[in-house]
Amino acid sequence: MSETSTKVAPKMPSAEEVALIKKFLNDTTLFLGPDPEIMQNHDLMPRSAEEDAAMKTISDAHTVAKIRDRIQAGCDEGYEMVEQMGAAPGAKWGDIITGVYSASGDLAIASAGGVLIFSALVHHPIKFIIKNWVNEPTVGVRDGDGFIHNDSRYGNVHNTDQSMILPIFHKGKLVCWVASTVHEGENGAIEPGGMPSMAESPSDEGLKMCPFKVVENYQIKRDILTFLQNSVREPKLQYEDMKVKLFACLRIKQRIEETLNSDGPEALVATLRTTMENVRAEVKRRVSEWPDMTVRTYIIQDSTLRENCVVKINCKLTKTGDRLIFDFRGSSPEFTNRATNTILAGLKGMLAQCFLCYVWPDLPRGQAAFAPIEVITDPHSIVNSSYDAPNSQSLMSIFTGFTAGQHAVAKFLYSCPEKYTKVHAPTFNMINTFIWGGVSQHGETLGNLCADLNGMGGGARSDTDGEHALAPIFATMADIGEQELNEEDVPFLQLVSKKMTRDAIAPGKYRGGQGYTMIVATKDSEQWGFMTTTQGAKIPPIQGLFGGYACGCYPLSKVKGVDVYDVLLNEPEKFKHSIEEIMNERPFEGAAYTTHHMGMGFEISKRGELFMISQGAGAGYGDLLERDPAGVIRDIEEGLISPGVAERLYKVKFDPVTLAINQEATDAARDAERKARIARSVPYAEFIKSWNKPTPPSHLQYFGCWGDDITKLYMGSADKFRDANTPRPNYMVHPKDVRIAELEARLAALGAMGSDKQ
């Protein structure tokens, strides 16, 4: 270009031309992918003219309350139907939700129990249907239709969850929607069970159902059903649970029709809208009672489930007036070929769960409770991943994001005079369970998981210990199931089940609730295997609160080269009932005993080999030296902590035989420990001189911002990073290639690679 050339302003298209371009693009859309306009917005849709008119007609609070209770009861009834009749283990244990959505697609009322994370997610596919299928002549939305959906990129936690969505018409007019969502498990991915950690692209994640019609005239279309069955490992489950979800939706529809007939459509529409607007307004009022403040925290993921590395979930929570803003900028970049990314809506859903279950459990369940709360992230972040990034193990980022939120929220709530729950230390947040699959003792091909993922330890509260194996953070009213019932269907036994893991503790003035041990062994199949898909074998995935400690770490242990069923038959005295005893005492001669991180890809197991894990503990609260000595002794008596560890940590003095507390000696030991703390600690200013480093440590693969500088995101080392606003690919090397390179380097160092041609 000549230096003397004059720049000419580009010609801007006229309004008419803009309209023409828009029409052209609309008419020639090649692919209806996830719509950013839908997917980025979690607030309520604007009040429609019909809703406005209905609210002017029906404003009586008693009428609204009556109808809301009736709809709520209908949702709960649908929930019970799915739980009782569903074939998926997730359905039986409450990993489900049912709900009624406004005509615009907002979730107005959800079942009281179940996985409330869905409350901030399933509205997205409904809005996709409204936007794209209602006026599409080849699809349409009519009375008797039903739509299915699972692809998380269109609004879901992960692709193992499937929804059935029905429009509800009254005298030919769409008045609302009903939907039922279940954690189905199997979905035809590269590993069984629906949550493949080996997925390196979305194409490895199995069924990818954008919302489409699968029901007409209330009948499931057999050709499409057959296609879906043919795409998964559990064809019978696919059929049964589609029917179950459809009939649960029809029961809720029946309850809605009773309301339409008794009170009219305006009353229903006004109730749904009034409920949402009231909840939204109440949330803003409650937030305004919090102190204006910024709270910072971070949670560390210690693996991608394929390799150990350090992945930061960075959270800054700011409250100003009635605004509450979660800022997750500075969190790790998305992984291009690892499955632990989540779409933004998944993170929002789990934060909504935090408020609905742990902060304001009195609020009606629905989308409105999180609607006014704001969330900021970097583009192509691990908590806001792109269309091309795999996300089948999104739970890793959703759950650690939840914990960051829960930890930050607690620091706002303490001073607030208005509380709806007690201040709560973080709950354990990982799905420490066995995912399984293969051919059962009955010849069935299966792929699913044990409900022990629901046995997460509860965090301590401001005046109480945490409860053991309480509930999963995503479904506070879910069950951990009956293992004996499960064993009728699957070819393995849990030889140790629901026994608390001693010394896997989260100490504090109030200690966290603990998790239990699971030891499994395959028995009646040569084609059966397990996966584990959690983080936290090197770094705890939670933080403690107000001086309390987090939990420890939880590895996977294996014993191979043994048939434990032969041992139980011939030498039963050799079997031990804890991971500690089996691994340390090594009672089975000739067996191989190994430990691993918790990202075990699907592995075929031989009869009688042991796979052993533990559920985790919730975080502790407060200074452990303030713990009531009687509580410490109770923990010893209940097998939660060994006497030596209890005495060393809590500085409690007691008789080793009778466990009688020596109060005087305890007081003296604790006074001495406080003095010892002061003696061994250093002033903050002095400490950071030697502690603070300008970049992440060279011995760790580190991902995310370092310190307060959120503009620079590290991608594995101090010299590899990206600008936060400029996405770049972030590939990980296959762990086997890493290992091969290590071994080749050793061979080269020994001169053994000299003749290899390159």
């Binding site: 102190p291 910072r296 001073s415 933080q543 001086g547 400690y549 452990l624 992440p696 307060d708």
Partner: protein
Amino acid sequence: MKVLMTEYLRIDLDTENWECRVCDHVIGSATKSYKEGLLVHNRDPREIHPPILDPEKYRFTFSPDPEWVRILEFCCPSCGTQVETEYAIPGHPPLYDMEPDLPALKAQWASRGEQKTPVVGPAVAADKGHGH
């Protein structure tokens, strides 16, 4: 007026200082991180989360890896109460975790009476169910 901010910290709105609720020690200005007025200890996490599996035999033991994470223990320099813990990547600057807006806090509490004890919040009570 004093506002109870955590289990062990309060802010004196008049002096704008963080104070220890256990021993009344003035920790430092509430315009800065309370951590700046505390003592810090870099704790090996294995001391708090003891290995359950023999570390001589196994790579993973139920203890956090001390080369991957440390526990920063913050205590009051006067009474030794452990005010906060932070599980930190080695070398990562400690977080400025609570940064209150003091003018807004003063305005908010101007219409509230001082609370000497914190509000605990409701307990989860068992439903008595239906009865006659």
